[in-house]
């Protein structure tokens, strides 16, 4: 519904996510679980990977897909940068140029300098890292809880060897791109009352509990009571997923969520920016300026609407 120019919905769930990491390989090398990308993830990846056996330390595409989008957005925030300033204006190559340059350089370095990513990672789409991880070719990868769900539900051999931890962060902290789902009812609906009844029925705590338990970490809590449900203590991997949800922020952060911020995601502008450095040979600063121009265009067009 719309009230005072704002849209309201009924929050249903947030999608749990986290860094999926091979705890068996870490134990072999006597390594601790990583908390930040640099140096933790880099160290773990370098020490555990074995390219001769096609085992790679870290699997995180920067390509045009949701996984690439999420990571690129997160890494800018992790390093104190963003594509937007607090007023919701483009800031990629202006206010946050310094922070964003370091963040982008790090993202590119995981492929070019540290060489902890598998060949072809820049062509990956959303399922690619799931497939590579389940095929035993990755030490770690960022993903939604769907990867852990797939392994547990299929009784995959790697399910017991996997630890899901809070998505690593950077100097400014660990920020997560929010993925929440809401119920909405069209006001022109002829059966708005029935829709409301349906939402009440589905969102009934007992019914949601059944759904949450069968989703194996995917139906993340968006209400305090649900976050405190004992279910989240039943698997050590759930803690990281829950923490991810509690730290999530909207596209547009540190400014408001705006249609322009959503469109920048939809056009994969941040992924293209990374691709222009990795594949196109641009310097991070040049790629940031190029992407900034595209974001300014989006901002200008959306501001006119």
């Amino acid at each position: 519904m719309q009230l005072n120019g704002q849209y309201f919905g009924v929050a249903r769930q947030a999608f749990g996510a986290g860094l999926h990491i091979r705890k068996d390989l870490l134990a072999e090398k006597g390594l601790k679980l990583p908390k930040v990308y640099d140096p933790d993830v880099i160290d773990v990846a370098k020490k555990c990977q074995d390219p001769s056996k096609d085992l790679w330390g870290f699997g995180q595409t920067l390509n045009r897909c949701d996984d690439g989008n999420g990571f690129m957005q997160n890494i800018l925030w992790d390093y104190g940068g963003s594509a937007w300033d607090k007023d919701g204006k483009p800031a990629l190559a202006t206010t946050f140029l310094k922070e964003n340059t370091v963040a982008l350089q790090f993202a590119v370095d995981t492929i070019q300098k540290h060489k902890i990513q598998p060949p072809g990672v820049m062509a990956w789409t959303d399922p690619s890292n799931n497939e590579a991880y389940m095929a035993g070719k990755l030490v770690s990868t960022n993903n939604g809880a769907s990867l852990y769900y797939a392994m547990v539900s299929k009784k995959h051999a790697l399910a017991d060897k996997t630890q899901v931890v809070l998505t690593p962060g950077g100097p400014a902290g660990s920020f997560i791109f929010s993925g929440t789902y809401n119920w909405g009812i069209f006001k022109a609906s002829k059966h708005a009352d029935l829709c409301e009844d349906l939402v009440r029925w589905v969102e009934d705590e007992k019914r949601f509990e059944e759904y949450m338990k069968s989703s194996i970490g995917q139906a993340g809590a968006v209400y305090k009571a649900r976050a405190e449900h004992p279910y989240w203590k039943t698997d050590p991997n759930f803690e990281g997923m829950l923490q991810n949800i509690l730290r999530s922020v909207w596209p547009g952060y540190p400014g408001p969520i705006t249609p322009a911020a959503i469109e920048v995601q939809a056009q994969y502008i941040l992924c293209d920016m990374a691709g222009r450095v990795v594949v196109g040979g641009l310097s991070p600063e040049a790629a940031l300026k190029e992407a900034h121009k595209r974001i300014e265009d989006v901002y200008r067009i959306r501001s006119r609407a």
Binding site: P51, D54, W56, L62, N63, R64, C65, P118, P119, G120, V121, M122, A123, W124, T125, S128, E131, A132, A135, K137, E263, A266, Q267, Y268, C271, D272, M273, A274, G275, R276, V277, V278, V279, G280, G281, E290, K293, R294, D297, V298, I301, R304, A305
Partner: protein, 315 residues
């Protein structure tokens, strides 16, 4: 009265001459002809003419999904002209199109020549070679997505593990040197049977006497191909190349499934950019401008094709 009667008479005479002229040009049943053509005329007008004109109008608007269009004249076209991302998409579209069509042409001729030669199970091989053309593109593209996969793909597996040609796998769809080549390769694989089967039909229509006469004159195999076969399939070749150019230029599925235009826009082509602008960014006006931007180039291609076909028919 007398003047009026003369005028009426003159008018009637003129009408009669016009009708007589129409009758001579269009034939005695020309009224019936109008009757037959009228539904088609309105059909084309409503299904082609109106949407096309409306698309041109929308391309000159600032039209976001869910909001009414605002006329902005040529602003979308001007903006696209100076947009680096769009410029790369244009260049990529030409590389993708002409790279694909060139190879399809050569492979198509080879395929037709092989199928013309007295090989065993010719019908069987003809059927096998048509599989890429008849298989749904989505299925083929998804298969190639797996084949080219850097970690799990069969191509790297063969090159690295089986034949030991490479020490390490290649990111076929992620390297600047191979991403475009890979999507072009898939388009070639999918499209060359159309060339081959068309050329085969054209070769079969070449009179055997021409080859016999050439053989009597002492022409070598290469000379017979150059002076008999190629001129014999020339008309079909031009039509097939023009058709394929249009189809390849508008090809969406292969690039979208394999790379979505990535990485970093390396394989971004116009149809994918149109789709992403329309359904990702939800900017319909600009998306249509992207699609129509190169319309003049395609229109000239179509006109050349139509003109050539008409000329062929007159002969």
């Amino acid at each position: 009265m007398a003047v009026g009667a003369a005028q009426v008479g003159a008018k009637a005479g003129l009408n009669g001459r016009v009708r007589g002229g129409l009758k001579r040009v269009l034939g005695p049943d020309h009224r019936m002809g109008y009757l037959f053509v009228t539904p088609i005329f309105f059909f084309v007008l409503s299904l082609v003419g109106y949407p096309f004109c409306y698309a041109i109008y929308l391309s000159m608007t600032h039209k976001l999904v869910g909001l009414p269009p605002v006329f902005v004249g040529f602003e979308n076209y001007v903006r696209l002209t100076w947009d680096g991302f769009f410029q790369r998409a244009v260049v990529n579209s030409f590389i993708f199109t002409f790279g694909s069509v060139g190879f399809k042409l050569v492979l198509g001729v080879v395929m037709a020549l092989v199928l013309m030669s007295p090989i065993r199970w010719r019908s069987f091989w003809t059927g096998v070679l048509l599989i890429p053309w008849v298989a749904p593109t989505v299925v083929s593209a998804l298969n190639f997505l797996w084949i080219f996969d850097g970690s799990l793909g069969v191509l790297n597996y063969l090159l690295v593990r089986v034949f030991h040609v490479l020490p390490q796998g290649i990111g076929w769809l992620s390297e600047p040197g191979t991403a475009m080549a890979s999507v072009v390769a898939v388009n070639i694989w999918r499209g060359f049977p159309f060339f081959g089967i068309s050329f085969l039909a054209a070769m079969k229509a070449i009179p055997a006497e021409l080859y016999e006469a050439a053989a009597v004159d002492g022409a070598t195999t290469l000379q017979r191909f150059r002076h008999v076969t190629l001129p014999g399939i020339r008309n079909i070749m031009i039509i097939v190349v023009l058709l394929s150019t249009i189809w390849t230029f508008n090809d969406f599925q292969i690039v979208y499934i394999l790379t979505k235009g990535g990485p970093g826009g390396t394989t971004m082509v116009m149809p994918v950019l149109t789709y992403e602008t329309a359904f990702g960014a939800q900017r319909l006006g600009e998306a249509i401008a992207v699609a129509l931007y190169l319309l003049p180039v395609l229109a000239v291609t179509i006109m050349v094709l139509a003109r050539y076909m008409r000329r062929g028919r007159k002969r």
